[in-house]
């Protein structure tokens, strides 16, 4: 289980391949993953860039904790969270969650749990830069 905070762009598929290579081949049958990517539009405006603030120690603790919860709740061989912070450009991945399991229902449920918990409660705050200035993002309920 790994939860990682990154202040530089990451390639989610490369990260998934790396984790996959480290797992026992042939032991897990299912991997569900989710990648959230920065869009170049929001509320009708073009977004030029985004600054993602976080509460470092609490964020790490929170992400570690939801990984622990997922491992207790479902039979998983591994789970992974990677989340950006700092300056982010449109098209760059912001978050990756993934869960490996023997069964697809558990992999899907755990992967979904990780992103839903993270979205609902992990201490991150987005500030967008548009043509007319900077603004804090408010719609955390966005699905």
């Amino acid at each position: 289980m790994t939860a990682v905070l990154r202040n530089e762009p990451f390639d989610p598929w490369h990260e998934l391949a790396r984790v996959e290579a480290s797992l026992d081949k042939g032991k897990h049958g299912a991997c569900a993953s989710f990648v959230g990517t920065m869009r170049d539009f929001n509320l009708g405006d073009d977004i030029h860039s985004m600054s993602l603030e976080h509460y470092p120690e609490m964020t790490q603790r929170f992400l570690d904790n939801i990984c622990d919860q997922a491992l207790q709740r479902w039979q998983l061989s591994h789970c992974l969270i990677i989340h950006r912070f700092g300056e982010i450009k449109p098209g760059e991945p912001i978050v990756l969650t993934a869960a490996w399991s023997g069964h697809r229902a558990e992999a899907f449920e755990a992967c979904r749990f990780l992103i839903e918990e993270l979205k609902a409660r992990a201490p991150f705050w987005k500030k967008e830069t548009t043509a007319t200035g900077k603004r804090w993002v408010h719609d955390s309920a966005d699905k």
Partner: protein, 77 residues
């Protein structure tokens, strides 16, 4: 008692505070810490609080050395 108090995102901009250490003589709850640190600025609706990096409520009590944090609704992911 000594408390480390942190403010994040829009709440940091609104209070003009980022990280302060306060000597909380009469502070018993998270709300007392807010009032002392911001000199009684009204707490914005939806403000979230944490004690030692775990979510807490404004009426939760605090202890010497605690790290208290205030922040707006989260928007990660």
């Amino acid at each position: 008692m000594q408390l480390n108090v942190k403010f994040f995102a829009s709440l940091s901009e609104q209070t003009g505070l980022k990280e302060v250490t306060i000597d909380a003589v009469k502070a018993a709850t998270v709300m007392d810490v807010w009032n002392q640190a911001t000199t009684n600025m009204p707490m914005p609706e939806n403000t979230l609080c944490a004690i030692n990096m775990a979510y807490a409520r404004p009426d939760d009590s605090i202890n010497d050395g605690d790290e208290i944090a205030f922040f707006p609704p989260v928007t990660g992911g």
